[in-house]
Symmetry: C2
Subunit: 204 residues, 2 copies
Protein backbone atom coordinates (compact mmCIF):
# COMPACT_ATOMS: atom_id res chain seq x y z
CA UNK A 1 0.00 0.00 0.00
CA UNK A 2 1.27 3.49 -0.79
CA UNK A 3 2.09 5.63 2.24
CA UNK A 4 -0.77 7.85 3.45
CA UNK A 5 1.41 10.94 3.06
CA UNK A 6 3.37 12.33 0.16
CA UNK A 7 5.70 15.27 0.64
CA UNK A 8 6.69 17.00 -2.59
CA UNK A 9 9.71 19.32 -2.70
CA UNK A 10 12.93 19.93 -4.59
CA UNK A 11 15.81 17.49 -4.32
CA UNK A 12 17.37 19.26 -1.36
CA UNK A 13 16.74 19.90 2.34
CA UNK A 14 15.53 23.51 2.31
CA UNK A 15 12.28 24.31 4.09
CA UNK A 16 10.89 20.78 3.67
CA UNK A 17 13.50 19.18 5.92
CA UNK A 18 11.58 20.10 9.09
CA UNK A 19 8.67 17.97 7.88
CA UNK A 20 10.97 15.13 6.81
CA UNK A 21 12.50 15.15 10.32
CA UNK A 22 9.01 15.07 11.86
CA UNK A 23 7.91 12.12 9.72
CA UNK A 24 11.09 10.23 10.63
CA UNK A 25 10.82 11.11 14.33
CA UNK A 26 7.26 9.82 14.45
CA UNK A 27 8.04 6.72 12.42
CA UNK A 28 5.37 7.74 9.92
CA UNK A 29 5.87 6.37 6.44
CA UNK A 30 5.78 8.99 3.68
CA UNK A 31 6.72 9.32 0.06
CA UNK A 32 9.69 11.69 -0.13
CA UNK A 33 8.93 12.97 -3.64
CA UNK A 34 11.69 15.15 -5.08
CA UNK A 35 11.10 17.29 -8.15
CA UNK A 36 14.30 17.68 -10.17
CA UNK A 37 15.35 21.18 -11.21
CA UNK A 38 14.74 20.58 -14.92
CA UNK A 39 11.20 19.31 -14.25
CA UNK A 40 10.16 22.26 -12.07
CA UNK A 41 8.70 24.54 -14.79
CA UNK A 42 6.11 21.95 -15.80
CA UNK A 43 5.47 21.06 -12.15
CA UNK A 44 4.99 24.67 -11.12
CA UNK A 45 1.78 25.07 -13.11
CA UNK A 46 0.24 22.16 -11.26
CA UNK A 47 0.87 23.57 -7.78
CA UNK A 48 -1.72 25.72 -5.95
CA UNK A 49 0.55 28.78 -5.61
CA UNK A 50 3.66 27.97 -7.65
CA UNK A 51 5.53 26.81 -4.59
CA UNK A 52 6.80 23.72 -2.89
CA UNK A 53 6.64 21.93 -0.50
CA UNK A 54 3.23 20.35 -0.87
CA UNK A 55 1.73 17.75 1.42
CA UNK A 56 -0.65 15.24 -0.15
CA UNK A 57 -2.98 13.25 2.06
CA UNK A 58 -6.41 11.71 1.49
CA UNK A 59 -6.58 13.21 -2.01
CA UNK A 60 -5.92 16.73 -0.75
CA UNK A 61 -2.89 18.88 -1.48
CA UNK A 62 -1.67 21.64 0.82
CA UNK A 63 1.11 24.21 0.48
CA UNK A 64 3.16 26.17 3.05
CA UNK A 65 6.10 24.54 4.82
CA UNK A 66 5.49 25.82 8.36
CA UNK A 67 1.76 24.99 8.25
CA UNK A 68 2.66 21.45 7.14
CA UNK A 69 5.29 21.10 9.87
CA UNK A 70 2.80 22.26 12.52
CA UNK A 71 0.30 19.64 11.38
CA UNK A 72 2.93 16.90 11.49
CA UNK A 73 4.17 18.09 14.90
CA UNK A 74 0.68 17.54 16.28
CA UNK A 75 0.63 14.10 14.68
CA UNK A 76 3.95 13.04 16.28
CA UNK A 77 3.29 14.73 19.65
CA UNK A 78 5.87 17.50 19.42
CA UNK A 79 3.28 20.28 19.74
CA UNK A 80 2.02 21.98 22.91
CA UNK A 81 -0.54 20.57 25.30
CA UNK A 82 -2.87 23.54 25.01
CA UNK A 83 -3.41 26.67 22.90
CA UNK A 84 -1.09 28.82 25.00
CA UNK A 85 1.74 26.28 24.76
CA UNK A 86 1.23 26.18 20.99
CA UNK A 87 1.43 29.98 20.94
CA UNK A 88 4.81 29.81 22.72
CA UNK A 89 6.09 27.33 20.12
CA UNK A 90 4.62 29.26 17.15
CA UNK A 91 6.17 32.50 18.39
CA UNK A 92 9.67 30.93 18.32
CA UNK A 93 9.09 29.25 14.96
CA UNK A 94 7.94 32.52 13.35
CA UNK A 95 10.88 34.39 14.90
CA UNK A 96 13.33 31.88 13.38
CA UNK A 97 11.35 32.07 10.12
CA UNK A 98 11.80 35.86 10.11
CA UNK A 99 15.58 35.32 10.23
CA UNK A 100 15.34 32.80 7.39
CA UNK A 101 13.34 35.27 5.26
CA UNK A 102 16.33 37.60 5.40
CA UNK A 103 18.43 34.95 3.60
CA UNK A 104 16.19 34.97 0.52
CA UNK A 105 17.53 38.13 -1.19
CA UNK A 106 21.10 36.91 -0.53
CA UNK A 107 20.38 33.61 -2.24
CA UNK A 108 19.11 35.53 -5.27
CA UNK A 109 22.03 37.99 -5.48
CA UNK A 110 24.42 37.04 -8.29
CA UNK A 111 26.89 39.88 -7.87
CA UNK A 112 29.57 38.69 -5.43
CA UNK A 113 30.39 42.12 -4.01
CA UNK A 114 26.74 43.01 -3.37
CA UNK A 115 26.26 39.51 -1.95
CA UNK A 116 29.12 40.06 0.51
CA UNK A 117 27.57 43.37 1.64
CA UNK A 118 24.18 41.69 2.18
CA UNK A 119 25.81 38.91 4.22
CA UNK A 120 27.68 41.43 6.39
CA UNK A 121 24.42 43.30 7.03
CA UNK A 122 22.61 40.06 7.84
CA UNK A 123 25.23 39.12 10.41
CA UNK A 124 25.37 42.59 11.93
CA UNK A 125 21.65 43.47 11.97
CA UNK A 126 19.99 40.09 12.34
CA UNK A 127 22.25 37.31 13.63
CA UNK A 128 23.96 39.56 16.21
CA UNK A 129 20.56 40.74 17.36
CA UNK A 130 18.39 37.61 17.22
CA UNK A 131 20.79 34.80 18.08
CA UNK A 132 21.82 36.09 21.56
CA UNK A 133 18.11 36.51 22.35
CA UNK A 134 17.31 32.96 21.23
CA UNK A 135 20.37 31.72 23.18
CA UNK A 136 18.98 33.38 26.34
CA UNK A 137 15.61 31.70 25.75
CA UNK A 138 17.26 28.27 25.53
CA UNK A 139 19.13 29.05 28.75
CA UNK A 140 15.84 29.78 30.55
CA UNK A 141 14.03 26.84 28.94
CA UNK A 142 15.97 23.85 30.18
CA UNK A 143 18.02 23.61 26.98
CA UNK A 144 15.09 23.87 24.55
CA UNK A 145 13.55 26.71 22.56
CA UNK A 146 10.09 26.43 24.14
CA UNK A 147 8.23 24.91 27.07
CA UNK A 148 11.37 23.47 28.69
CA UNK A 149 11.06 20.31 26.64
CA UNK A 150 11.57 18.99 23.10
CA UNK A 151 9.05 20.52 20.68
CA UNK A 152 8.87 21.14 16.97
CA UNK A 153 10.36 24.60 17.59
CA UNK A 154 13.65 22.74 18.18
CA UNK A 155 13.08 20.71 15.01
CA UNK A 156 12.43 23.89 13.07
CA UNK A 157 15.60 25.53 14.36
CA UNK A 158 17.69 22.37 13.79
CA UNK A 159 16.62 22.18 10.14
CA UNK A 160 16.58 25.90 9.29
CA UNK A 161 19.74 27.13 11.05
CA UNK A 162 22.09 25.08 8.80
CA UNK A 163 20.99 27.47 6.02
CA UNK A 164 22.49 30.33 8.04
CA UNK A 165 25.87 28.59 7.78
CA UNK A 166 25.39 27.57 4.14
CA UNK A 167 24.57 31.07 2.95
CA UNK A 168 27.22 32.93 4.96
CA UNK A 169 29.97 30.31 4.72
CA UNK A 170 30.44 30.68 8.48
CA UNK A 171 29.68 28.70 11.62
CA UNK A 172 26.93 31.09 12.70
CA UNK A 173 26.26 29.33 16.01
CA UNK A 174 29.95 29.34 17.08
CA UNK A 175 29.24 31.88 19.83
CA UNK A 176 25.94 30.34 20.81
CA UNK A 177 26.69 26.97 22.46
CA UNK A 178 23.17 26.51 23.78
CA UNK A 179 21.60 26.98 20.36
CA UNK A 180 24.18 24.64 18.90
CA UNK A 181 23.25 22.10 21.58
CA UNK A 182 19.57 22.36 20.55
CA UNK A 183 20.54 21.50 16.98
CA UNK A 184 22.82 18.66 18.13
CA UNK A 185 20.14 17.27 20.43
CA UNK A 186 17.66 17.01 17.56
CA UNK A 187 20.26 15.63 15.15
CA UNK A 188 21.23 12.93 17.64
CA UNK A 189 17.73 11.54 18.20
CA UNK A 190 18.08 7.94 16.92
CA UNK A 191 15.53 8.25 14.06
CA UNK A 192 16.97 11.60 12.97
CA UNK A 193 20.59 10.41 13.21
CA UNK A 194 19.70 7.51 10.95
CA UNK A 195 17.90 9.81 8.49
CA UNK A 196 20.86 12.22 8.33
CA UNK A 197 23.19 9.29 7.57
CA UNK A 198 20.99 7.97 4.78
CA UNK A 199 19.23 11.01 3.26
CA UNK A 200 20.09 12.14 -0.28
CA UNK A 201 23.16 14.38 -0.33
CA UNK A 202 22.61 18.08 -1.10
CA UNK A 203 24.38 21.38 -0.44
CA UNK A 204 21.61 22.95 1.65
CA UNK B 1 -10.23 44.46 37.31
CA UNK B 2 -7.81 44.90 34.42
CA UNK B 3 -8.57 42.84 31.31
CA UNK B 4 -6.82 39.43 31.18
CA UNK B 5 -5.21 40.33 27.84
CA UNK B 6 -3.10 43.25 26.73
CA UNK B 7 -2.21 43.70 23.06
CA UNK B 8 0.68 46.08 22.48
CA UNK B 9 1.28 47.58 19.02
CA UNK B 10 1.78 50.90 17.26
CA UNK B 11 -1.09 53.38 16.94
CA UNK B 12 -2.32 51.93 13.66
CA UNK B 13 -4.04 48.84 12.26
CA UNK B 14 -1.13 47.02 10.61
CA UNK B 15 -0.56 43.38 11.49
CA UNK B 16 -2.22 43.69 14.92
CA UNK B 17 -5.67 44.41 13.48
CA UNK B 18 -6.38 40.68 12.93
CA UNK B 19 -6.04 40.11 16.67
CA UNK B 20 -8.12 43.20 17.52
CA UNK B 21 -10.88 41.87 15.22
CA UNK B 22 -10.69 38.45 16.93
CA UNK B 23 -10.95 39.99 20.42
CA UNK B 24 -13.95 42.05 19.32
CA UNK B 25 -15.62 39.13 17.53
CA UNK B 26 -15.33 36.97 20.65
CA UNK B 27 -16.42 39.75 23.00
CA UNK B 28 -13.17 39.32 24.92
CA UNK B 29 -12.07 42.38 26.83
CA UNK B 30 -8.48 43.46 26.12
CA UNK B 31 -6.27 46.46 26.67
CA UNK B 32 -5.58 47.95 23.24
CA UNK B 33 -2.20 49.45 24.17
CA UNK B 34 -0.74 51.70 21.47
CA UNK B 35 2.89 52.76 21.53
CA UNK B 36 3.32 56.20 19.97
CA UNK B 37 6.00 56.66 17.32
CA UNK B 38 8.17 58.91 19.50
CA UNK B 39 8.12 56.39 22.37
CA UNK B 40 9.12 53.38 20.23
CA UNK B 41 12.92 53.58 20.65
CA UNK B 42 12.69 53.21 24.41
CA UNK B 43 9.98 50.55 24.06
CA UNK B 44 11.97 48.54 21.58
CA UNK B 45 14.65 47.59 24.09
CA UNK B 46 12.02 46.07 26.35
CA UNK B 47 10.55 43.78 23.69
CA UNK B 48 11.76 40.17 23.22
CA UNK B 49 12.84 40.65 19.58
CA UNK B 50 12.50 44.38 18.90
CA UNK B 51 9.07 43.92 17.36
CA UNK B 52 5.41 44.51 17.99
CA UNK B 53 2.72 43.28 18.41
CA UNK B 54 3.09 41.64 21.79
CA UNK B 55 0.38 39.78 23.65
CA UNK B 56 0.51 39.92 27.45
CA UNK B 57 -1.45 37.38 29.47
CA UNK B 58 -0.93 35.85 32.92
CA UNK B 59 2.39 37.67 33.31
CA UNK B 60 3.76 36.30 30.04
CA UNK B 61 4.63 38.26 26.92
CA UNK B 62 4.62 36.78 23.43
CA UNK B 63 5.62 38.20 20.03
CA UNK B 64 4.59 37.32 16.44
CA UNK B 65 1.30 38.59 15.02
CA UNK B 66 0.14 35.43 13.24
CA UNK B 67 0.95 33.19 16.20
CA UNK B 68 -1.06 35.53 18.44
CA UNK B 69 -3.99 35.58 15.99
CA UNK B 70 -4.00 31.76 15.81
CA UNK B 71 -4.19 31.56 19.60
CA UNK B 72 -7.07 34.04 19.73
CA UNK B 73 -8.87 32.27 16.87
CA UNK B 74 -8.89 29.10 18.96
CA UNK B 75 -10.21 31.09 21.91
CA UNK B 76 -13.11 32.58 19.91
CA UNK B 77 -13.89 29.38 17.95
CA UNK B 78 -12.75 30.53 14.52
CA UNK B 79 -10.14 27.79 14.18
CA UNK B 80 -10.53 24.31 12.67
CA UNK B 81 -12.14 21.34 14.37
CA UNK B 82 -9.10 19.11 13.96
CA UNK B 83 -5.42 19.31 12.97
CA UNK B 84 -6.11 18.89 9.26
CA UNK B 85 -8.68 21.69 9.26
CA UNK B 86 -6.17 23.89 11.04
CA UNK B 87 -3.62 23.02 8.36
CA UNK B 88 -6.04 24.17 5.66
CA UNK B 89 -6.53 27.49 7.48
CA UNK B 90 -2.81 27.94 8.22
CA UNK B 91 -1.94 27.28 4.59
CA UNK B 92 -4.17 30.15 3.44
CA UNK B 93 -2.98 32.48 6.18
CA UNK B 94 0.69 31.89 5.31
CA UNK B 95 -0.05 32.33 1.60
CA UNK B 96 -1.66 35.72 2.29
CA UNK B 97 1.23 36.52 4.63
CA UNK B 98 3.69 35.79 1.79
CA UNK B 99 1.92 38.44 -0.30
CA UNK B 100 2.08 40.89 2.61
CA UNK B 101 5.83 40.28 3.01
CA UNK B 102 6.28 41.59 -0.51
CA UNK B 103 4.88 44.98 0.58
CA UNK B 104 7.65 45.51 3.15
CA UNK B 105 10.43 46.71 0.79
CA UNK B 106 7.92 49.05 -0.91
CA UNK B 107 6.99 50.62 2.42
CA UNK B 108 10.69 51.27 3.05
CA UNK B 109 11.48 52.72 -0.39
CA UNK B 110 11.77 56.53 -0.20
CA UNK B 111 12.58 57.15 -3.88
CA UNK B 112 9.26 57.65 -5.68
CA UNK B 113 10.43 56.31 -9.04
CA UNK B 114 11.92 53.15 -7.57
CA UNK B 115 8.77 52.81 -5.44
CA UNK B 116 6.58 52.96 -8.52
CA UNK B 117 8.67 50.23 -10.19
CA UNK B 118 8.39 48.01 -7.11
CA UNK B 119 4.60 48.51 -7.04
CA UNK B 120 4.29 47.63 -10.73
CA UNK B 121 6.30 44.45 -10.16
CA UNK B 122 4.20 43.56 -7.10
CA UNK B 123 0.99 43.88 -9.09
CA UNK B 124 2.36 41.99 -12.09
CA UNK B 125 4.24 39.16 -10.32
CA UNK B 126 2.28 38.71 -7.11
CA UNK B 127 -1.24 40.18 -7.19
CA UNK B 128 -1.95 38.97 -10.74
CA UNK B 129 -0.68 35.53 -9.79
CA UNK B 130 -1.98 35.02 -6.25
CA UNK B 131 -5.31 36.86 -6.22
CA UNK B 132 -7.00 34.84 -9.02
CA UNK B 133 -5.91 31.66 -7.24
CA UNK B 134 -7.34 32.85 -3.93
CA UNK B 135 -10.51 33.97 -5.75
CA UNK B 136 -10.91 30.43 -7.15
CA UNK B 137 -10.48 28.98 -3.66
CA UNK B 138 -13.28 31.21 -2.31
CA UNK B 139 -15.46 30.10 -5.21
CA UNK B 140 -14.94 26.44 -4.28
CA UNK B 141 -15.31 27.10 -0.55
CA UNK B 142 -18.82 28.42 -0.23
CA UNK B 143 -17.67 32.04 -0.17
CA UNK B 144 -14.92 31.61 2.41
CA UNK B 145 -11.16 31.10 2.23
CA UNK B 146 -11.13 27.77 4.04
CA UNK B 147 -13.39 24.93 5.18
CA UNK B 148 -16.51 26.38 3.54
CA UNK B 149 -17.25 28.45 6.61
CA UNK B 150 -16.09 31.54 8.48
CA UNK B 151 -12.60 31.02 9.96
CA UNK B 152 -9.75 33.23 11.04
CA UNK B 153 -8.29 32.87 7.53
CA UNK B 154 -11.10 35.24 6.46
CA UNK B 155 -10.27 37.56 9.36
CA UNK B 156 -6.62 37.54 8.35
CA UNK B 157 -7.44 38.38 4.75
CA UNK B 158 -9.97 41.07 5.76
CA UNK B 159 -7.40 42.85 7.92
CA UNK B 160 -4.29 42.38 5.75
CA UNK B 161 -5.69 43.00 2.24
CA UNK B 162 -6.48 46.69 2.96
CA UNK B 163 -2.70 47.16 3.09
CA UNK B 164 -2.55 46.03 -0.55
CA UNK B 165 -4.75 49.01 -1.44
CA UNK B 166 -2.97 51.42 0.91
CA UNK B 167 0.49 50.70 -0.49
CA UNK B 168 -0.46 50.63 -4.18
CA UNK B 169 -3.08 53.40 -4.08
CA UNK B 170 -5.39 51.09 -6.03
CA UNK B 171 -8.48 49.00 -5.37
CA UNK B 172 -6.55 45.71 -5.62
CA UNK B 173 -9.65 43.52 -5.23
CA UNK B 174 -11.62 45.32 -7.99
CA UNK B 175 -11.39 42.27 -10.28
CA UNK B 176 -11.92 39.75 -7.49
CA UNK B 177 -15.53 40.10 -6.32
CA UNK B 178 -15.45 36.92 -4.24
CA UNK B 179 -12.38 38.03 -2.30
CA UNK B 180 -13.96 41.42 -1.80
CA UNK B 181 -17.10 39.70 -0.51
CA UNK B 182 -14.97 37.80 2.04
CA UNK B 183 -13.62 41.11 3.34
CA UNK B 184 -17.08 42.68 3.38
CA UNK B 185 -18.58 39.67 5.16
CA UNK B 186 -16.04 39.99 7.98
CA UNK B 187 -16.37 43.77 8.15
CA UNK B 188 -20.15 43.51 8.43
CA UNK B 189 -20.21 41.14 11.38
CA UNK B 190 -21.98 43.23 14.07
CA UNK B 191 -19.07 43.32 16.54
CA UNK B 192 -16.57 44.11 13.76
CA UNK B 193 -18.80 46.76 12.19
CA UNK B 194 -19.04 48.49 15.55
CA UNK B 195 -15.25 48.27 16.05
CA UNK B 196 -14.54 49.73 12.59
CA UNK B 197 -16.87 52.65 13.37
CA UNK B 198 -15.22 53.41 16.69
CA UNK B 199 -11.56 52.38 16.32
CA UNK B 200 -8.83 55.03 16.32
CA UNK B 201 -8.34 56.53 12.86
CA UNK B 202 -5.13 55.68 11.01
CA UNK B 203 -3.91 55.53 7.41
CA UNK B 204 -3.21 51.79 7.32
Amino acid sequence: MAPAYKLIYGDYRGVAETSRFLFKYGGIEFEDARVQFEDWPQWKEKTPFGQLPLLEHNGKQINQSIAIARYLANLVKLAGNDDWENLEIDSIVDTVSDIRQKLVPIGREQDQIRRKTLIDTLIKDSFSYHLPRLEAIVEKNNGYLALGRLTWADFYFATISPMFDAITGQDCLANYPKLKAVRDKVNELPAIKKWIETRPASDF
